[in-house]
Amino acid sequence: MTETVIGHRTARIDGELKLTGKADYAADHNLPNQVYGYPVPSTIACGKLLGLDLDEARQAPGVIDIVHRGNFPQLQPSDNNPACGAAARLYRSPSTMGEENKVGEVRLPFEDDGIHYEGQYIAMVIADTFEHARAAARLVKARYEVHEAVPGLFYTDDEGEEAGDEAVSRGDPAGAFDAAPVKLDQTYTIAMETHVAMEMHASIAHWEGDRLTIYESTQGVVFQRNALAQIFGIPPEKVTVIAHYIGSGFGSKLFMWPHAVITAVAAQRVGRPVKTVLSRQQNFCNAGNRPASRQHMRIAADRDGKLLSIRHDSYNETSFVDEYTESIGSGTPRVYACDNVSVSQRRVKVNHGTPTSMRAPGEVSGSFALESAMDELAIALDMDPLELRRRNFADRDPSADLPWSGNHLRECWDDASRRFGWDQRNPQVGSMRDGHEIIGWGMADATWEAMRSHCSARVELRADGRVQVACGTQDIGTGTYTIVAQTASELTGVPLERIEVKLGDSMLPAGPLSGGSMATATVMPAVAGATRKAIERLKQLAVAEGAPFAGKEADALEFENGALSDGSQTLSFAELLDKLQRGMAEGEASAAPGEEKDKFSFRSFGAHFVEVRWDPGISRLRVARVVSTIDIGRAINPLTARNQVEGAIVMGMGMGLFEATEYDPAGNIYNNNYADYIVPVHADIPDIEVELLDSPDYNFNEFGARGVGEIGITGMAAAIANAVYHATGKRIRDMPIKIADLMEP
């Protein structure tokens, strides 16, 4: 294939809509006759809801309805509950990945009178305006029986329960550890983090008879459609979920949260569209988080630095309403060559909302401990930390006994270390100075599994000369609209300006979640298949009786630059369709991963090199420079791909230096806002230099793309902590690094 569009820097096709305010995010829709929902959150983290006093709220201006446990459809048939609306009862979503109906919290809203976390919804006020709904919500009074909360992982000695399917063991890790000459036994922790996507969760639900349409800020329109159908007990065809634009999600919008169910029930009860936009505070409590984690890492090597044993035992928080497992050690058996490895994962119940995936879930946490431990081991061996990693390069996937489809980690090390100037590093702690600043240099590896799912797409070559591509996936800001258009443009020769892409609607052919860095590798093959089918269809129409190419073999026709040709006659598809008096030639196709996954292990690798500057006089720590080289297979759009990696590096800085969702001993979050939950801002941003290796992985798919969203965040916190050690001599094993940690003698 001659590539003219794919692999080239391409400005987003949806850019102008985003820059002029015309891109329609969920809450931008205002439907006729719409009213507003405002949830009432629990103010306690653990206990029982004894009762609600709704009188004052009911009499407040503009209030139309208040939904709560007393009038909400329940799991059990509710003959004795005539206050319920049209839906007499609800069902739980089975919440499985396989059936594509996973939800963020399986418990239905108001299902029991238990309070399991602060912010859990106890009611929702429906009013004519946003202001009236918010004002009345504050008038709802609740009576509670307060129980002692488990405020978080770091407050409890509970060992929790083992997630058995996470356990991995090979060789004799304990024996090898005991016999090894150089060893390390340390515990690492990471604070709970919150996604804080700029766009808050929002639902607008609208019923027309028994059909539900819901505008939602979601990373998965198909998943939410399926889940709502299960919960209401109606066919999926009766539910439409729309998410044309999403103010990103980072995992928090993969799976539906309870506000959407309450909003849909409320819309049914009042017979009008209901718009609910969660407050920023509610986003912290009710829409998932990266759970706090504790990792016990035991790692050993011989005197030449050859790894002899890795034992990685992790704990993550889960809630009292769901079992959430963070697969923290999932990368550990794969990244380095080591014969004796074990991994385990335990879940500890705490009074928080249910955690969920957050950018590079599991592995980013695991990479902090593993890459910190590698740095500590290098120091124990008096060896350069990059050299230690080189000595343990895995030339096959050690956990699957499969060859890598492509492991370009060595090129990443070479390229990034050269650009960074790593050979100028003086290993002695605190030895590199610039005026009153002490410079620290640290590095870490990055890695993320390459995944692919199944996908369908439809392509229409239209009589007006335009090409329309439709797929029920979403663009959360990663650039999916653009790579879909690039794919169709590449195969048809039609310029991008004449390609329209429809995404973010569950009525379209089913597409994947926007998550796990798998959208690109999943969507492109389906779009390519549909494009080829549309071209085939066009050829068949062209050779039919009475058509311009009648009598020719369809296979003998060439399709190039949007035109069909038999060598003597050339017609653009628009001209041809016009002659045929047809509106379009269409094709629909599905694509899924095949046998390649049994032949190869697919994983991306990269390396981060970080410079920090520590000014001990004023206790000032800054990341000054990040140089990263990442292998993502083929960069379909280098402009947006690099942006993704740079953004992930910024979020990794957040994990290393700033981000912590903090709970008081009663289980209430005390920094549930954008001022007190610190994320990197413009002034924090260092010089970031990212290079993407151009090494297409054609074993994975025909375009060689492996996915790009997550890998950049992995390893970043460790690279920063390793650089901080080099500057200060202080090994910080608890993220985020706090200035106070560095001031202690």
């Binding site: 400005a11 987003r12 949806d14 850019g15 102008e16 985003k18 820059l19 002029t20 305010g21 015309k22 891109a23 329609d24 995010y25 809450a27 931008d28 205002n30 201006p61 305006t129 946003f130 202001e131 004002a135 996604h195 804080v196 996507a197 700029m198 766009e199 808050m200 634009y245 999403i246 103010g247 990103s248 980072f250 936009v277 407050s279 920023r280 959360i476 800001g477 990663t478 650039g479 402009l639 947006t640 942006n643 993704q644 740079e646 953004g647 992930a648 590096i649 910024v650 979020m651 806002n673 954008y674 001022a675 994320v679 990197p680 801002v681 413009h682 002034a683 941003i685 970031i688």
Partner: protein, 174 residues
């Protein structure tokens, strides 16, 4: 910045709950009928269907709702609509003129200075305001400091900075 020329809005004759505010919105004079507790951001989004201005926190912490009020950037979530009698307000919908993108919009497109696009209106409105504020230096550090009230959770900061610096030249040339 507060509007120092604000007059008292007139109590509406229609209902006792609402007031009429006369202001200029993206160059057009409008009379807004609104309750006194309606925040400017919500008035734009829910009453005037100008949804390009985004809500990210409702507390003046994230910058997504930044608009220009009499030429100066302001968090539209921190000011009541009724305080803007006589104000000239510009939202992202008013940046492009006669179908042509503003140089800041062009630079954001070219430099891929966004990902999800949700903070973008605020980033651009703060940039336009910053260009008009001669107290703010033109070097990268000054720009980063000046724009630090506009959070981009996608972390597209590097591209935003290059877009802003490139747009500065174009705005200067225009």
């Amino acid at each position: 910045m507060m509007d120092d020329s604000a007059h008292s809005p007139n109590r509406s004759s229609q209902t006792s709950d609402t007031l009429t505010v006369n202001l200029t919105l993206n160059g057009e004079p409008i009379a807004l009928e609104v309750e006194p507790n309606v925040v400017l951001l919500d008035a734009l989004r829910e009453r005037l269907d100008l949804t390009g201005t985004k809500k990210g926190c409702d507390h003046g912490q994230c910058g997504a709702c930044t608009v220009l009020i009499n030429g100066h950037s302001a968090n539209s979530c921190l000011t009541l609509a009724v305080m803007h009698e006589g104000s000239e307000i510009t939202t992202v919908e008013g940046l492009a003129r006669d179908g042509r993108l503003h140089p800041v919009q062009e630079a954001f497109l070219e430099h891929d200075a966004y990902q999800c696009g949700y903070c973008t209106a605020g980033q651009m409105m703060s940039t336009v305001s910053m260009f008009n504020d001669k107290r703010i230096g033109t070097d990268d550090a000054s720009v980063k400091e000046a724009l630090s009230g506009n959070i981009c959770r996608c972390g597209a900061y590097k591209n935003i900075l290059s877009a802003v610096q490139s747009a500065r030249q174009k705005v200067g040339e225009a």
